[in-house]
């Protein structure tokens, strides 16, 4: 604990900034915006420091020694209570190879989102709304960051829920025409998921005992839950207890997380939310929020319910397959640019699920990498939609055509993003998808599913190129004669993402080194 608490800074700096902003008058637009920017830049620095200080040999997952930058204090500690006579919640932050990529991702996305929120008042024409917007954005930032670094299940849940509320308002206030519907749908949907999670959390809490100061007490510590030895013999989750609820608990958690991913058939909130949300919010939604689901499955379900996972791996992979193909077809069927992107997210998150269902180092590493890559690529895609929408206030694919000659640089960016999206070799997604496919193809059980999923690659090309052609090729309408190419601010958003996409396409090693040991350990832990 001697070292500097990077993670706390990462997590709570935005919240503090948000509290500070409350006292800034709404007129001081620039103060607010630059504060937000400052916060994300500090976050980037912190993340960089964590990255440099990261020890690639530690294994994480189920052993405290495996974690780094650990900050573990008692947060709430009550003794002398009935039944389980202590109630203890820890303030427990740490990173390992699984959470580190996600932390990096959410830092990047936070930065990009802040930049693209710069003129939120103009783009959503809500004058004077910057204050509330950025406060909510910062709170959201805290929530997302916290989910990835919290290792106390209870804390995790708090962050998990903390994400919902700002999101609700951000969609509901700054959103598009059907914002109310989208906002409440998103909220109710995800809430329904997370209350299930809550029940399971309590169930686990009641059936896990962790040695503490001589005696054994109930705990929310994930690491303790991963150790079978800690389960009480009569607890509802314990393996000894014949009539145990492990399967139900597994199911509850899985549904809870599947809604976030989102996994068929729980995905229908996504298109609405995406289409109605303002650009930066869609970016965060697709870039980070969806990853929370996949991350949670790996971080929580796998180590805590290995046997259920083993038992249901095929079905998980099946759902992943459905996501891939179904999402792709839906994307192909869309007329609305943004909806198309949203469904492409559904399809791509399917790859993640397929990957983590493979039970192989390659597959899972691919899944995590895919989460990262999809995060960056899809962020780019939504920003792209945002750019064209800000300029023309149109989103229908058929409203455009032949923009290529008018806005060459923009076209270039779009081409890059699109080809990255359907996994062109040399761009980031290809590596992860390749790993996923190899991993999946290696396991005999789900080979057939893999073959079917591979159709997703073809379809990916089909719908992406279709969009590309409809928007940028062919005859140009005269109304776009005056269309402006990218501005400096937009370059600031696109260039980092573009660099990441290309860099990790050619040389993904840094990312993989981070997760390598951890994932091997995950596999050994769950076998």
């Amino acid at each position: 604990m001697s070292q500097f608490p990077y993670l706390s800074v990462l997590t709570f700096l935005p919240l503090i900034a948000a509290l500070g902003l409350i006292f800034v008058p709404a007129e001081k637009k620039n103060t607010i915006r630059y504060t937000a920017l400052f916060v994300v830049i500090v976050q980037i620095l912190a993340t960089a420091l964590v990255w440099f200080g990261f020890n690639f040999d530690l294994t994480g997952i189920n052993k405290l020694e495996g974690y780094q930058f650990v900050e573990k204090f008692t947060w709430i500690y009550l003794t002398g209570l009935p039944i389980f006579d202590t109630f203890k919640v820890d303030y427990f932050l740490a990173v390992d190879g699984l959470s580190m990529p996600m932390v990096i991702l959410s830092t990047i996305i936070a930065f990009v989102a802040t930049i693209s929120s710069w003129n939120i008042e103009e783009t959503t024409n809500k004058p004077g709304s910057s204050k509330g917007y950025f406060i909510l954005l910062l709170i959201l930032n805290t929530g997302t960051m916290g989910v990835f670094v919290a290792l106390d299940f209870f804390m995790f849940y708090i962050f998990w829920e903390l994400v919902l509320l700002p999101m609700y308002f951000l969609i509901g206030i700054w959103g598009g025409p059907r914002k109310e519907y989208a906002a409440i749908k998103f909220f109710i949907y995800t809430l329904a998921g997370s209350v299930l999670i809550l029940l399971v959390i309590i169930g686990l809490y009641l059936s896990v005992l962790e040695p503490y100061g001589g005696s054994k007490i109930h705990t929310f510590n994930m690491l303790a839950m991963m150790d079978k030895a800690n389960f009480t013999s009569d607890g509802m989750m314990s393996l000894l207890n014949p009539g145990n609820f492990r399967f139900l608990a597994f199911l509850g958690l899985f549904i809870g997380f599947a809604i976030k991913i989102p996994l068929f058939p729980f995905h229908t909130w996504l298109p609405d939310a995406h289409v109605e949300a303002p650009t930066p919010i869609s970016v965060i939604l697709a870039g980070v929020l969806l990853k929370m689901g996949g991350y949670a499955i790996l971080r929580i379900i796998y180590p805590i319910f290995p046997e259920q996972v083993q038992q249901w791996a095929w079905w998980i992979a099946f759902l992943g397959m459905i996501n891939i193909v179904y999402g792709a077809f839906c994307a192909l069927g869309q007329k609305d640019f943004k909806k198309l992107i949203a469904y492409s997210s559904v399809s791509h998150m399917g790859f993640v699920v397929l990957g983590i269902a493979t039970y192989s180092e390659l597959g899972i590493a691919g899944g995590v990498l895919q989460m990262f890559n999809h995060g960056t690529v899809t962020a780019m895609l939504f920003l792209i939609v945002g750019v064209i929408y800000d300029r023309t206030h149109k989103r229908g694919l058929d409203d455009f055509g032949g923009l290529a000659t008018q806005v060459p640089m923009y076209t270039g960016v779009v081409t890059l993003a699109f080809f990255a999206a359907f996994g062109l070799p040399g761009l980031s997604s290809f590596v992860s998808e390749l790993m996923i496919f190899i991993g999946a193809f290696t396991s005999d059980a789900i080979r057939v599913l893999t073959v079917i999923s591979a159709i997703g690659i073809v379809l990916g090309a089909v719908y992406m190129l279709r969009a590309l052609q409809k928007i940028f090729l062919g005859k140009m309408k005269d109304e776009y004669k005056t269309l402006k190419d990218l501005t400096v601010r937009e370059y600031v958003m696109f260039v980092p993402l573009g660099i990441i996409v290309i860099l990790f396409g050619i040389y993904p090693t840094p990312m993989l080194d981070i997760m390598n040991k951890t994932i091997s350990n995950l596999l050994t832990a769950i076998q």
């Binding site: 190899i438 073959v451 089909v462 190129l465």
Partner: protein, 684 residues
Amino acid sequence: MNTHLTLLQALVILLPLFGFVVAILAPNKMKKMYLVETGIMFVSLVLAAILFFTKIFNFSEEIIRSQFTLFSLGMGEKPFELLVDLTMDNMTVSLLFMVTLISFLVHFFSLEYMAEDPLKNRYFGYLGLFTFSMLGLVSTGSILFIYIFWELVGLSSYLLIGFWGYKDEAADACSKAFITNRVGDFGFFLGVLTLFITYRSFDLFYIFGEIAKGSYPYGSEVWLTVAGLLLFCGAIGKSAQFPLHVWLPDAMAGPTPVSALIHAATMVAAGVYMIVRLFPMFTETAFIVIGVIGGFSALMAATVALTQLDIKKILAYSTVSQLGLMVLAVGVGAYQAAIIHLMFHAFFKAGLFLGSGSIIHATHSQDIMDMGGLRKKMPVAFYTTLMYALSLIGFPLTIGFLSKEMILTSSLVLGNMTGNYIYFVFVVLTSVLTSFYIFRYIFLIFFGEPRNKHAYEHANDLNIFIKLPLIVLAALCFFFFFTLNPITLHGSYVTELLFKFPDILLPKEITHGFLTASPGNIYSTEYMHSLHESELLATLTSALIILAGVGTAWYMYMKKKLVPKVPEGALGKLYLFSQNKWYLDELYGVTVIKGTHLTAALMSWIDKNIVDGVINLGAWVTVALGKFSAAFDLYVIDGLVNLVAWINGFFSMFIRKFQTGKVQSYLTLAMVFIVLFVMYVFSN
């Protein structure tokens, strides 16, 4: 020293990429950046030449490879390692040389051809990207990297076809090209996966070794066949074989030099190159499928080419047909014939395209009906084109003769040995048609009366940028660059040095032919022997073929001066059938494409109305329950008051039942209940 070569190779490959980056990132002010790119291309060409000769003369026997680990994953006894693989054997260097050469010539040609285009930087950048991908494709020994570069050439082809994206046909063509290829790559990808999970490696040479040792996917030769065919799917897509050939003709919407470079000389040949590379891993069944598909594509494309009016379309189908021949050659086990024909074809077909390009540039038309009699106006174009045409039909003393004759011979020999002459028939028919349509092409363009005076007036040979490439390529069409023996390539350095696999890579025994074919070892001395004695027959055949084809063409278009049009009667039907490309596009249009879009629409509908519907239904039910309980609360039991009112109504109704007894009767009833209850109480 080897490392130096490797570095040189890496340089040759990466320079064009550098050119691409330079040209793409060039700010709008630097209009002339494309010249830099061309310069870089030239350097790359020179280096490739140096590489070629060094390799051939000093290290002819070696396969120079260098690999390094990009990343490795996992702790298991066999962690996954992604190796970057740079391999160089004679075939590689020859192809490197060829590709850089043609690519440079095309650059050179484009300097004039694209002179007016505002986005030249971008255009040349794309050319650079393509060259890079193509070079990478031929110089790696890892199936994965072949796939990667495979996709990249696809990308650059997409970009170049769509370069004039404001033209609708170009817009459609580029998407069509990429997606059609993607369909093939679907198979390719699965093939790669199958190989990997079997041998835990992407290294082809290692895999060949394993196969030679007799270890097959899932331990059965069937799966080896499947893997082979899956990989072949990729080739079908790239090399525009039936049934995925439809994209190539449309791809002609791109600039003509691009067609010359990509859709005639190099990229489309990549498929053939791949199956030649993979030659050692094909099984008998695989060979049969390959051969038949190749033969059929060759024949079909040739028939289509007979009646086209767009000069680029004619050449496009001719390309498909020639590629078909190469694939067939692989199918009959004559990998050398295939790869050699690939290279020669690259020269003369690129030439043909550039020639057509110069014509188009001169007459501003692609329609064969606008031409005629250009012989006098464009002598250079004419003579060079004639040269190409001659080598295309395999006229003696041309390189075409040499390669064509190899294919004929080997297919004939195969027939002799297995009694299965189908391949031979394919080749012969195709060749006849070829020599017909290519001379139809020449006669209609360069001879006869000009059909479009205006175009005719403007036509001329233009400047050196146009002429030089044509002449160079034409020169390359003479045999003596490749062998001193005008009759056959046997014993020439081409066969003995450039394109000769070390014996370990050659299958010990490949049995051939349809169902009941007797096995024959095609690399046995016996085979070689019969090869020699078949050559004469083959030569004669090709002579006859040429006479037949060219003769007919001469008779129809020179003697009778016919103008292409739909003849009457059954012949007309055939004519239309051929002119409309066997109606394949229409067929796909109504089946595959419509099918996909219908499915998509269906899925979206399901998503909107059923999947989401369920959720909304859930919400609706909750709401309904709420409404119900609210209503219940409002009207039924709105506080004690309504309770009273309600019970009032209830009792009054009740009392109406007991008309006579009136209220008292009910009271007594109530009393009875209570008394009963109290008695029950006291019973215990």
